[in-house]
């Protein structure tokens, strides 16, 4: 499937799209799936309920389900008594920087891998796969040691650099599959018209690749936003991220637990918004390229 039929090579015969058969969804299946979706959301809904209860009934056993006045006290507490705002900024800054850098480094590399024939590509891809599966601690503990020696321990920079490297193999792999779908004739045409390789990438490939780049960007952003282990090891107080903050609140007092829940909600809401907006592009993007065998 091509991202856009307007750019299909001339040899392609244009067939009118067959009329989509309107199939009525199977009602039993639909109901089961709705139930499943609700079940998948249950932990999230339950946490939302817990953090909007007054502290004295928030974690009561058996749970109190009615007869209380919902309150946003936990959010207020979170904002006023902890450094949550700072942690949120750290998390966002690290996620954005590492996504941008990962794409800037990954796009040319993935393009080259998709165009350079033969063994080199295959072996590099295999290495990327193996590196993706490494136990995190095998690279993060040495990073901890090195970052202390260099004096960059507990900085956003160190964490972002670590995440770029850790996510690089996956980004390259995903992007490479998208590039592989774009016919090589297009590069040749552009170069005959006087584009350099870089020009071809910038003027022809990147515009064509927009859904693919978006897909890879969303994945890398989410990985960075979610990362717990790396942040736990490479940060202390100054560049602590929200996931690390949330676990430090566990096992403390009930108000602190509620703050953890509130922090979880605040971290989740933007991510949910992204996933709802992006899911259409994700399915389209993924079926366009990445996963054809």
């Amino acid at each position: 499937m091509m991202p856009s039929t307007a750019t299909a090579p001339a040899t392609r015969v244009v067939v009118p799209a067959p009329k989509r058969r309107r199939r009525r969804a199977n009602p039993t299946a639909a109901i089961l799936l709705i139930l499943l979706a609700v079940l998948m959301l249950a932990p999230f809904i339950w946490t939302a309920l817990s953090v909007t209860k007054p502290t004295d009934v928030a974690f009561a056993n058996p749970p109190v389900l009615s007869g209380y006045t919902p309150t946003l006290e936990a959010f207020k507490n979170l904002w006023e008594t902890t450094y949550f705002a700072e942690y949120l900024v750290n998390t966002a800054v690290v996620a954005v920087i590492s996504t941008v850098v990962a794409l800037v480094l990954g796009i040319p590399a993935a393009y080259a891998l998709s165009r350079f024939p033969g063994y080199v590509s295959a072996i590099l891809l295999l290495l990327a796969l193996v590196f993706r599966s490494l136990p995190r601690f095998a690279v993060v503990l040495p990073m901890y040691d090195i970052s202390r020696a260099l004096g960059i321990y507990d900085t956003n920079f160190a964490l972002a650099a670590a995440l770029v490297a850790i996510n690089q193999p996956f980004s390259i792999w995903l992007l490479r599959n998208f590039f592989a779908e774009i016919p090589k004739e297009l590069d040749e045409a552009a170069m005959i018209d006087g584009c350099t390789r870089w020009g071809t990438l910038r003027r022809i490939m990147i515009p064509l690749m927009r859904p693919g780049i978006l897909t890879a960007g969303v994945f890398v952003f989410l990985f960075a936003f979610q990362e717990y282990l790396t942040a736990l090891v490479l940060t202390d107080t100054a560049s602590k991220t929200v996931p690390v903050f949330i676990t430090t609140q566990l096992g403390q007092t009930l108000p602190m637990l509620q703050q953890a829940g509130a922090a979880a909600m605040l971290l989740t809401l933007p991510v949910i918004a992204i996933s709802f907006i992006a899911q259409k592009y994700l399915v389209a993007g993924l079926s366009d390229g990445s996963v054809k065998g």
């Binding site: 799936l33 709705i34 979706a37 998948m40 480094l105 024939p117 136990p135 979610q226 996933s275 993924l286």
Partner: protein, 290 residues
């Protein structure tokens, strides 16, 4: 593409990966043969760290638990993920809402999802699922201190967290199954089951393999979720390999960096063994293309 162009395109990315992945990895291998502390040069002690790890029953338990979790979760993810993807694919207008709701579990930071999940089961924090299950079965299960109830909860959490990814991938793959193929099979009299078994699944072999691969990788390195879900992981035999490394090599008071590194090297070997079939397939494919 010429060699020099290739090098200039791939150079920056390669530099970052060599500097921040390969070099640290080499350091881990070095450490695994040393008695060493952070910030200091270590002393070579041969294979002691390895013999210590392999002789530690706690490490054996961690390996067993991690492999058990990986096997069960991967099987569940593939079967349930495929069925759900088929269901979602058949949905009309509802589809984006269902898919969006399900994706939430995947995009939540692992640790956050695990905290929320643990609250559903924790009687100390007014959990609701433990109560429902208690009413239904008439017995009180100790979700956090008994080995098997805790395992069931960890398995449920891991499936909950990873299922959306497989649904998304398989759904994307279903879009690539040519309509002609399905129609031809239907004309040849294939029923729904046969259609899936002999037509759709074989055409999606690549994707299903990919989902399997990613799931195995992700479950083998389970770590974050155990912090809220299994506070006494070691005592009840539900500790993962990564948790064992963390406890030995990083947590305050027990910085056995050499031992932790040796376990890291051992788990790399374990992962390579688990991934061997996929690696072999990829190499074969590469050879065919070369």
């Amino acid at each position: 593409m010429r060699r020099r162009e290739f090098a200039s395109f791939i150079g920056p990315s390669l530099l970052v990966m060599v500097g921040l992945l390969v070099l640290p990895l080499i350091r881990t291998v070095q450490w695994s043969f040393q008695e060493v502390n952070y910030g200091q040069a270590g002393t070579f002690i041969g294979l002691s760290n390895y013999t210590q790890a392999l002789g530690d029953p706690r490490f054996g338990r961690a390996v067993f638990f991690t492999l058990l979790l990986t096997a069960i979760v991967t099987a569940l993810i593939l079967v349930v993920g495929y069925l759900v993807a088929i269901g979602v694919n058949g949905l009309g207008k509802l589809r984006p809402y269902i898919l969006g709701s399900m994706l939430v579990a995947y995009v939540l930071p692992g640790v956050v999802g695990a905290v929320s999940f643990s609250w559903l089961f924790n009687s100390n924090f007014g959990g609701v699922l433990n109560l429902v299950i208690e009413r239904l079965t008439g017995q009180e299960l100790l979700w956090f201190t008994d080995t098997w109830p805790n395992r069931v909860m960890i398995i449920a959490h891991t499936v909950w967290h990873l299922l959306p990814f497989s649904v998304l991938m398989i759904l994307a793959g279903l879009q690539g199954v040519p309509k002609e193929l399905r129609e031809a099979a239907r004309i040849d009299g294939a029923n729904a089951l046969k259609m899936h078994l002999w037509v759709i699944i074989p055409t999606m072999r690549g994707i299903i393999g990919f989902v399997c691969l990613i799931t195995i990788m992700d479950v083998l390195r389970t770590f974050d979720s155990l912090i809220p879900l299994s506070p006494q992981a070691d005592a009840i035999g539900n500790e993962s390999i990564m948790f064992y490394v963390f406890d030995n090599a990083f947590r305050d008071g027990s910085q056995q960096l050499g031992l932790g590194s040796a376990v890291n090297v051992l788990s790399i070997l374990l992962i390579l063994i688990c991934l061997f079939p996929f690696i072999r397939d990829l190499l074969k494919e590469a050879k065919a293309k070369a």
